[in-house]
């Protein structure tokens, strides 16, 4: 047997493989790459803008070592709570004058009787329709202008008559009213510059004597 007869199939298949490989590999070997250099030089500098602690009471500031960061904690020392120690809602409280420690810009406002209007059309620190008295010590501790006061217009809960409480700003004369009256309604009013605006109301309410 001649050697080329035995090897011919192997020879042909190898040749085909070589041709195929060269075709497939041609694009790979034809690749060209270009290398452009790029240098990034970093020269750190101190922070030109730094943070400071303004030393404000109640504000805790923790600065980073380079003063480029800060952790700020604001503490709120004031807790807002409304404590009413005087039974100011019941209208008869004011029938014989102001309770102890209550003051009024016009002392003559509150000399009413037990059976009639509290001085009728008296004007204290509000307009002619609404009268306000306030407790001498601010109840809300972080302001000197808000007081819880008593709003009394009438000892009668009939039409146009109310009793209730008020949040009164002595500096501006503006106040909120939560009052019951006028046909057993609960009214919430906002009074600014002497003009009151009814914000909310409910009907069918009543009062019990403070016994």
């Amino acid at each position: 047997m001649k050697w080329y007869r035995v090897k011919k199939p192997f020879f042909i298949s190898s040749l085909l493989l070589l041709i195929l490989s060269s075709i497939l590999l041609t694009p790979v070997f034809s690749s060209v790459f270009t290398y452009n250099p790029l240098v990034a030089s970093l020269q750190p500098v101190p922070p030109p803008i730094v943070l400071q602690d303004p030393s404000i009471p109640g504000v805790s500031v923790s600065l980073g070592s380079e003063r480029a960061s800060a952790s700020i904690t604001v503490s709120l020392p004031y807790s807002y709570s409304l404590v009413i120690s005087q039974d100011v809602i019941y209208y008869t409280t004011f029938d014989s004058g102001l309770p102890t420690n209550w003051v009024d810009p016009d002392p003559t406002c509150w000399g009413g009787s037990t059976t009639a209007w509290v001085r009728g059309s008296i004007t204290c620190n509000a307009n002619s329709t609404y009268e306000v008295a306030y407790y001498n010590t601010p109840i809300v501790s972080n302001t000197s202008t808000f007081y819880v006061g008593a709003y009394v217009r009438s000892n009668n809960l009939g039409g146009g008559r109310y009793v209730g409480i008020t949040l009164y700003d002595r500096a501006t004369g503006n106040y909120y009213i939560a009052a019951i009256g006028n046909g057993n309604r609960l009214n919430i009013l906002r009074c600014v510059d002497g003009s009151c605006d009814l914000k909310a109301f409910a009907t069918g309410l009543g009062l019990q004597p403070n016994t």
């Binding site: 694009p27 790979v28 034809s30 690749s31 060209v32 790459f33 270009t34 290398y35 452009n36 250099p37 790029l38 240098v39 990034a40 030089s41 970093l42 020269q43 750190p44 500098v45 101190p46 922070p47 030109p48 980073g64 070592s65 380079e66 480029a68 960061s69």
Partner: protein
């Protein structure tokens, strides 16, 4: 005893003689085939150009965002002056494909920058002069190719202009010093992983 000592010497002598004879034989004849290599240089199809913030004011005194582009626009050196915390340099340089066909880009960090532990140094290549999306995000603190193989290089279309931004983060409780990163912008008409350049 004497005969035993002479055997190795004889063998060495014979081997030396054969080596001399053979070397003489291989050095005695040379054949010369002609090979011609034609080189026709072309203009660089990919070029560096300055960004809108190149050589503008940088942090610290009279420092500037130094951008130096080589005479053929094929090399780029950046001088930046970051500080503690996060620093972002936008549009310091650009990459322009001046050719009429796309090229495939790989960025290779040969020498990484040395910054304190916890630092970040990234070279961000966006696919537009403004806005756009990140095409290549290079970590300057590691020796590697981006995109990392087997991921394919990123194609920059014909005529496209891409933007180079840098983001540097240096932790506050650290003492950084000057450093640099040596990088290569590698491009090719084919989307293969670029080979190492021979020394």
């Amino acid at each position: 005893m004497g005969a035993r000592l002479k055997k190795p010497a004889l063998a060495q002598s014979v081997a030396l003689a054969i080596a001399i004879i053979l070397s003489y034989a291989f050095a005695s004849v040379f054949v010369y085939y002609p090979v011609t290599v034609n080189l026709s240089p072309v203009n660089p199809p990919i070029k560096f150009i300055g960004g809108s913030n190149a050589n503008q004011s940088d942090l610290g005194g009279s420092n500037t965002i130094g951008v130096i582009i080589g005479p053929n626009s094929t090399s780029l050196t950046l001088y930046l002056h970051p500080t503690i915390q996060h620093n972002y340099y936008r549009d310091v340089s650009r990459i322009e494909n001046t050719d009429s066909k796309a090229y495939y880009i790989t960025v290779r960090v040969n020498t990484p920058a040395g910054l304190p532990s916890g630092s970040v140094a990234r070279l961000l290549i966006y696919d537009a002069p403004s806005g756009g999306s990140i095409a290549i995000d290079v970590n300057l603190l590691t020796t590697e190719d981006t995109p990392t193989p087997p991921a394919s290089p990123v194609a920059i279309p014909a005529g496209a202009v891409w933007r180079i931004d840098l983001y540097i983060l240096i932790p506050e409780d650290s003492d950084p010093s000057g450093t640099y990163a040596e990088i290569q912008l590698i491009y090719s008409p084919s989307d293969e992983t670029p080979p190492e350049v021979p020394p």
